[in-house]
Homo-oligomer: 329 residues x 2
DNA sequence: TATAGGAGTGAAAACGTTTCCACTGAGATC
DNA sequence: GATCTCAGTGGAAACGTTTTCACTCCTATA
């Protein structure tokens, strides 16, 4: 590979001058700049980012650690992060933690060795151990807060979102509700479950059942089947995300229960399947793309101005009413 | 940050010895090894991968360039690549090309500067220009071949997949078929469209319509609406992917056409929505995860043994029959 | 006419590793 | 007893940049 030296030799100037000419840092005469550029093109010079990184201490790379890119909520987050990073000249390395704190920590270590400039983490479990392994590299938490860890954070208002869903159902006359919750130990799932209880109490609505389980369609299907078999009476279910809701939809379909005729269903996230489901899912839309953008903005800001106070951004969700919810009968 | 020098000073040995002790390269006495390890722990030493990369010329990083991580086919690919890369000690940087050859080339340049050891690319358009910008860094193509570029490649047998779908429908008595194709200029989409024509001719089935468009549900919905309004007679549609198929499903539902009663539908890929759709989609399953794994294996192999001849892996798809296809009436 | 200042340039240090080479001492071989 | 080998070790070079510093001209100012 051609290096600065090669370019310098060919252009008949010093290596420092080449660096200045190519990067536009420091003064270089017009004639020399042209000569350098020609020489660079001629030898096919490609700057060596590794060497640059060594001297500047900066790699222009962010790490993004997610539970599982395969869960349809996260691709749009990843996409947003990637887009926002790129316009700022950053590359993004990806890690899937599978909600396993050990794997998460392993990734943090790996990326730290790689010298990433910052990390965006949708953290698993309580992860208080993370702070130790993270060291001095800036972190912004996304989608899930980590209790007692004082770092930048962008989340959506889960309480509000669930409250909107419950209120919507209550307004339709539903008085006996079920919550199909997300996994134990995941902050957003716990917050949603708690918010469900609180909203029901406040509105005088009965909580017929509340279970916790993975954020998958299988989980929703399984729990739905069991629930529908159990003969417990309820007229609506609030799922902790769209996948669980879709799984329930399937179970209801198989059990011959009409949605929303017999039972109303709401989801959370508004991922693609929510729109494509039959019936299309009433759900709480998260500003996912915005969240990803914002996380990158925060991270970039923190790199520019390390002293700034920690910021927590809470994004407003939005209830989108489709056909999976209707009047209680 | 603590460096090798700090560790060496604390352990009272030379810097070279520390490097050997920590990496297990070269002989080190048991006593010294212990002292070094203690010292490293004490000062919180983290190896600097950037410096290492500069001297070894290796970053242990792969690039993965996809059209759009938001398209549900790609997350499982990304996941597979990431998993396989990690067990080999590689990190993965991600790029979304949006099927834009310029963006794709920009990413290739960016990642080359970053010094990735290899790239896995689901290439956009014909991309013959890619070979030039890619330089000496090893590439394996995934999901889509690019004509006249002699590099490693792992794809699935699109011809076979489409042929299976057409044959399935023909076996159910369908004689008037429609193809909702993928975007012009994307190799896999073109191959599928061509395979559709060929299979129909071979089986004596009439091609009522064949359109090309983006791999999205919107595209399937729009084209479906137009088609259903047009009063052209057909009894089954073969979509180029599941998203298009789901879009068509919606259009059919709105138009009051029963699936599969009035019209049968098949998809391609077998992504999550295919299973969750109503009715569940008959589709051609791609061994997506396997493809991602294989791509990493190829790349790793090429790095180990640069001289090896180019390999093209063609994976077998599998028709999975669900409820969106039934006998022609 | 002296002088201050700035544009333009190159040599060299620095970043933190890996690795080559040289050296020491101890045990093995003749 | 002389020589050889090899484990164990440290010094120093090298990787390809950026950046500091010093130097040379040249122009503007007094």
């Amino acid at each position: 590979m051609a290096t600065l030296r090669d370019v310098a030799a060919r252009a008949g100037v010093g290596i420092a001058t080449v660096s200045r000419a190519l990067n536009g840092t420091g003064p270089v005469s017009e004639a020399v700049r042209r000569r350098v550029e020609e020489a660079a093109a001629a030898v096919g010079y490609v700057p060596n980012g590794v060497a640059r990184g060594l001297v500047t201490g900066v790699t222009r790379t962010f790490a993004l650690i997610l539970p599982d890119i395969t869960n349809p909520y996260f691709p749009s987050l990843a996409r947003a992060v990637e887009d926002a990073a790129r316009v700022r000249g950053y590359a993004v390395v990806l890690g899937n933690s599978d909600n396993d704190p050990d794997q998460e920590a392993a990734y943090v270590r790996l990326f730290r060795e790689r010298g990433v400039d910052g990390m965006i983490i949708a953290s698993s479990r309580d992860a208080s151990a993370l702070a130790r392994v993270t060291g001095p590299v800036p972190v912004v938490l996304i989608d899930r807060r980590v209790p007692h860890w004082d770092v930048d954070c962008v989340v959506t208002d889960n309480r509000r979102g669930i409250a909107d869903a419950v209120q919507h159902l209550a307004g339709l006359g539903h008085r006996r509700l079920v919550h199909l919750g997300g996994p134990e130990g995941v902050e957003s799932a716990s917050t949603r479950a708690q918010a469900f209880m609180d909203a029901c109490r406040e509105l005088g609505v009965e909580v017929v059942d509340l279970t916790r389980g993975p954020f998958t369609a299988e989980s929703g299907y399984e729990r739905g089947r069991r629930l529908l078999k159990s003969r417990r009476r309820f007229t609506a279910v609030v799922a902790a995300n769209d996948l669980i809701a879709c799984g329930f939809l399937q179970a209801a379909f198989e059990a011959g229960r009409a949605v929303p005729g017999d039972v109303s269903v709401t989801g959370f996230d508004d991922v693609l399947v929510a729109r494509l489901a039959n019936p299309p899912l009433t759900t709480v839309r998260q500003p996912t793309y915005r969240a990803g953008q914002l996380a990158v903005e925060r991270l970039a800001a923190r790199l520019d101005r390390p002293g700034e106070p920690v910021r927590v951004d809470v994004l407003k969700p939005e209830l989108v009413v489709r056909s999976s919810s209707g009047p209680a009968r």
